[in-house]
């Protein structure tokens, strides 16, 4: 009986997580367009619903009813497979992410995470690396020069930025003596990691920007020179898959930044519910992503590679050495 309850709870949590992650990009697109508009002294969407609040719904209906076009020269099987391959890994990663300790519902303690893995950080990096398959297969299957160039760029970028990203979190792991995200957050109960790991945070966040394909590192879908990168040939619901995947990754990088460097659900000064603290911090980083997008221009491709290999990688290695010497 207990096993059934536990299993049911896990299924419920996973279903809830999937529902939230699928629905969250809708308000995020609205927020992003509003921020874009106001930074450029425009208003953003205003016509559908109150201040355009229903705009994402209208966009969703539009995308669902659009023609699902597959180019004649495309590899049909891979073309259909790629959006799913791009969408699944960011969702899978959230299994390992804790959103808080636990809440009591009807006298039962319910943990706010699906599973507490002791190698959660490794799992996150391993699974998020799989997202690159969706991108490269999508670009290849479309059989279009823009898509192939975009997917090649994305691959090179993701692989080179995963290395400094991985190195940057080693400092955090050294401080917490654990790879479990839950333990890492507990270790930050008094002092957040950002105090000890400013370089690590910098490297992680910049690499995260590149990982999420956001400006200033959105070379993969540089509209000016590549159409739309690897999803140039996609339309309708398959295009929506790529968009959802992009937003979930943005969310994931924000969540990871908060968990690894900004104390997770540990509050400071103002006593708020832990989950609210967590949400506020994540919201701030999501805002930061969008703020960056409408402030900075795009890097050139060679600059992107130079930043990754010549700046971020040495910095992250130096961070490991400094952390090792200072906290041994």
């Amino acid at each position: 009986m207990e096993l059934v309850v536990a299993l049911g709870l896990i299924v419920f949590k996973v279903a809830l997580l999937i529902a939230i992650l699928l629905l969250l990009p809708l308000p995020l697109t609205w927020v992003e367009r509003k921020i874009a508009g106001h930074i450029q002294q425009r208003m953003g969407p205003m016509r559908v619903g109150w201040h355009g609040l229903l705009q994402p719904v209208a966009d969703g209906i539009k995308l669902l009813t659009k023609e699902d076009h597959i180019p004649t020269e495309a590899d049909r099987f891979l073309f259909k497979l790629a959006p799913i391959l791009a969408l699944a890994p960011p969702f899978v990663v959230f299994v390992a992410i804790p959103f808080g300790e636990s809440v009591s519902v009807l006298g039962n303690e319910i943990t706010l995470y699906v599973s507490n893995m002791n190698v959660a950080l490794l799992f996150v990096f391993a699974v998020i690396g799989l997202e690159v398959y969706g991108v490269i297969i999508g670009g290849w299957a479309a059989n279009s020069k823009y898509a192939v160039l975009g997917s090649l760029r994305t691959c090179a970028q993701m692989i080179s930025y995963e290395i400094p990203m991985g190195f940057a979190v080693i400092g955090v792991v050294m401080l917490a003596q654990s790879m479990s995200l839950l333990e890492i957050v507990r270790a930050q109960a008094d002092v957040w990691n950002i105090v000890y790991q400013p370089i690590g945070f910098f490297v992680f966040f910049v690499a995260g920007l590149a990982e999420a394909q956001r400006i200033p590192f959105d070379l993969a879908e540089a509209e000016g020179d590549l159409g739309a990168g690897f999803h140039t040939e996609y339309s309708g619901i398959r295009f929506a898959f790529f968009m959802v995947s992009e937003y979930v990754i943005m969310l994931l990088v924000s969540v990871l930044t908060v968990i690894l460097f900004f104390g997770g659900w540990n509050g400071v000064l103002i006593p708020l519910p832990p989950l609210l603290w967590f949400a506020l911090k994540v919201a701030f980083f999501v805002y930061l992503f969008m703020w960056f997008r409408f402030t900075f221009p795009r890097y050139r491709y060679d600059q992107l590679m130079a930043i990754g290999w010549k700046v971020l990688l040495p910095l992250s290695m130096a961070n490991i050495i400094i952390t090792g010497i200072a906290f041994s």
Binding site: H38, Q41, R42, R47, T295, F296
Partner: protein, 188 residues
């Protein structure tokens, strides 16, 4: 400050992303500034100045008769030949147009007809919302031209607008904002 110190200062600035922070600060300021968007068909609408060259209209004299004497000078000067005037003699023995048609689909709103008119009968008014689904509807006859709104008395204001623009054509603003209207909607 010497040049070497300048360079060191620049380098220190770059190390702590002073340039990026400056850009972020600028966009943050703009984010909470007033928007310059005019929500044109939904809520607000721009009233043109009296110098604006919108849709043509024909004038009447004090007795309510059409001022036009059908001299056809406007038709002659029109660079795109969009005016067609046919004169007739009315019961008082005056020369008047029996047909006065302007093909606004071809008109380029240069205002030469207004300049050429010896009787001050035709002018370009304030109406600018006359798009149509059929180019046939854009051929405007004499009686329609007489009913069109005239020049704006005051201009350069923003008035309420509805998607149905038919009824809002004649709105006049009480608060003309002047030639530098755009300065008022920039951020403080």
């Amino acid at each position: 400050m010497s040049r070497a110190q300048d360079m060191i200062g620049t380098w220190i600035g770059w190390t702590f992303f002073a340039d990026l922070a400056k850009g972020l600060g600028l966009t943050f300021g703009y984010m909470f500034s007033k928007t310059v968007t005019m929500q044109y068909p939904d809520k607000e609408k721009w009233l043109p100045y009296s110098r604006y060259r919108g849709h043509h209209f024909l004038k009447r004299d004090e007795e309510g008769e059409i001022k036009c004497v059908a001299c056809e000078l406007c038709a002659r000067i029109c660079p795109c030949y969009c005016i067609e005037v046919v004169p007739y003699e009315d019961e008082k023995g005056n020369r008047r147009p029996i047909k006065f048609e302007i093909d606004t689909a071809r008109c380029l709103f240069c205002g030469l007809c207004e300049d050429a008119c010896p009787a001050d009968a035709i002018a370009l008014g304030q109406q600018y919302e006359f798009s149509s689904f059929s180019s046939r509807d854009l051929v405007i006859g004499r009686d329609d031209l007489l009913a069109k709104p005239g020049k704006a008395a005051t201009g350069g204001g923003v008035v309420a607008a509805r998607l149905n623009t038919e009824n809002d054509v004649l709105v006049e603003t009480n608060e003309p904002q002047g030639y530098n209207w755009w300065r008022n909607i920039r951020r403080r």
